[in-house]
Symmetry: C2
Subunit: 189 residues, 2 copies
């Protein structure tokens, strides 16, 4: 009875973790698109690749428990159910907010693997425990890498504001120039 | 020019941090309501109290930069804009998912204060730097406390499933009993 229960809990949690990895894939894809800075972009791209590997690894663990393919197919439906908004819903308007979002998402994943290791241990599924611990380490590294980009994000915030000011100045100059030339050459009436 | 720009960035980020604290207050209020386990509830309640203090501290720093009260009043409108869904939107159906959500929220806050310290330093606002560093330490402790409840959350998951099974068994027994008594005493037809 307890064994079946532990197994059911494990499969449910594996499905949540898989849904979360699919959400992470979409989020990091969007982050790569949004990020102009090369170094930050590379950090985000690396974690995008890793997320694909993690999703596959978790899908394999689900298959090891359930042979019905429908169970795996249904997984995509669970995406977004756990907590973070999709980036599509809230386009982060600055590199700072994007990094905050990614850092938070990384920690949602860290928590999900902390739980996966515990639940799999309770269900006696050593292979899943090992997969969870291996991925956990990579998620922790990814969180650190996102954090190591924080200084660069603040620099970019300044650079963006500077560019916006410069283009505002150019516009103002252009419109003043236009006014002057209109005053010098009155339009034929 | 650069000074004004740094100041504008700081005020904008302070508003985001304030909105995030307001979201944290709502989220931890809901977490306290949802949590039956005394020890977990106490952890969440402590951070609820702290979040009120943090929101006040940040509101003071905003007032130090902007005297117009409308700027502070508008803050509530920004709630929920940064990334995490409100708990009201996604009622976490287990203590495990609730803890995952809170852990992620804590790290969204940690990132927001990491950035606040950096942006305030760039704007030469030492008081805000100190406030950010002080709160940052408390947010890190809160995240650790949420994490230290993970084992208990897994236990609760098992207890909940056990209760659900027991009440299912009782129902089954009751309906079998009813069937038997109906067979023994046929209804008057």
């Amino acid at each position: 009875m307890a064994e079946q229960r532990n197994n059911d809990e494990l499969v449910l949690h594996l499905k949540d973790v898989h849904a979360l990895e699919e959400q992470a894939i979409k989020t990091f894809e969007r982050a790569v698109e949004l990020t102009e800075d090369e170094q930050l972009c590379e950090t985000y791209r690396q974690h995008l690749d890793q997320s694909h590997e993690h999703a596959e690894l978790i899908a394999e663990r689900i298959k090891a428990h359930e042979v019905k393919p429908s169970a795996v197919k249904d997984l995509t439906m669970r995406s977004g159910a756990i907590g973070l908004r999709q980036l599509a819903e809230i386009p982060p308007d600055t590199p700072v907010k994007l990094a905050m979002h990614l850092y938070s998402l990384e920690h949602l994943e860290i928590a999900s693997y902390e739980f996966l290791a515990r639940i799999a241990r309770g269900a006696g599924d050593q292979e899943t425990v090992e997969a969870a611990e291996q991925i956990l380490e990579q998620e922790r590294e990814a969180a650190e890498q996102v954090q190591s980009g924080f200084d660069r994000c603040v620099e970019l915030l300044g650079e963006q504001a500077e560019k916006a000011e410069a283009s505002k100045r150019e516009e103002d100059e252009a419109s003043k120039g236009k006014e002057r030339s209109e005053q010098e050459e009155p339009s034929p009436a």
